[in-house]
Symmetry: C2
Subunit: 199 residues, 2 copies
Amino acid sequence: MADSDRGPRERMVFSAAQLLRRDGVAGTGMRQVAAHAGAPRGSLQHYFPGGKEQMVNEAVAWAGRYAARRVDRFLAGLEVPSPSGLFAAMVAQWSDELTATGSLPGCPVAAATVDSADTADSTRQAAANAFACWREPVARALTGMDVPESRSAALATLMVSALEGAVLIARAERDPAALTTVARELGPLLDGAVTRPEN
Amino acid sequence: MADSDRGPRERMVFSAAQLLRRDGVAGTGMRQVAAHAGAPRGSLQHYFPGGKEQMVNEAVAWAGRYAARRVDRFLAGLEVPSPSGLFAAMVAQWSDELTATGSLPGCPVAAATVDSADTADSTRQAAANAFACWREPVARALTGMDVPESRSAALATLMVSALEGAVLIARAERDPAALTTVARELGPLLDGAVTRPEN
DNA sequence: CCCCGATTATGACAGCGGTCATAGCGGTCG
DNA sequence: CGACCGCTATGACCGCTGTCATAATCGGGG
């Protein structure tokens, strides 16, 4: 949300991620990205000589790092750390945006996957990396909450999957119900995976 | 899969759904749909006077009905009905396609949601309807397996969410691991929701 | 002062997209 | 036969997109 002046290049990557959320890859033009970032059009071919594909890939990578950062921040914000609490925080980031602003742009990584997984292989790999970047801190957080290492990675995958799917449904319905439902139903399962209940 | 001769119109809707899976909404052209369906180009404005939006909406609706039909068929194919068995069958439909053909086109409903939820409201509603069409038979199947009615709808949402998210990840990674993981981790939770274990 | 690299400014191009307009078939029915 | 109707056939238009080519601008060092 801090779109401040971090150099025009980073601003463009950020704007690309933002527009990707709304319109998808094919629906977002490069001129549009430049305009949204307040950057001159001539900077496009200068900063992204690899063309649109490079820009999309960087936006996806940025989103992956952003998601990972958020996970760490959620952990720091939990007074009593628990898997369900972490998941609830992850879900709340999305439902809050919908209830606050009234609209729910999707996940840029999902957009890149849907739009160009079968047409641009580098973008597909960028999306895979982003998902990995995201799941990794989640899995590590779970092991830190006494979830056995053998399951923490799998549960992280489940959490991200359920979240992404719920975002899709909530977006289609313009209703955060799917998000809250998933958080409520999945929470107990996650907490049940801790070996020594610490409460 | 049965692209047979059900009239050119239905063939075009089917082809649209198929192309949507791979290239998304903006990445799929109407001429391309006609060509894929072996239909004359002039039929486009004749059968879809509402333009691309109408075509996409019908493809999405078709996909929703198709998913619902599949759920019923999965139920019929289960010797011992159980929530985890149903979910495993739903997941297997996707992982099997990836392992068999080597590639994994996504879900057309997800594509429509990602690409035009914020730009074409009728498409957004079509996607919401498709999700509802899909979850409804799942929820009903759960109640038929002695899952309390209060939870069956929520669990159906969770199942569809987790599946959609796992499809995304598997598509990005070109690896069905996320799908099998989600099925394995979510199965016990689902079976734990039956009041009287029938086994 | 002048050169130089980084950045920006334009303009053009070729392609494709959806959509409209118009006309042509090929039957069937009155 | 002539009228109507479902369907098809083209062709054109306009807007947009990604990309390239070329030149201008600007801030600092040599």
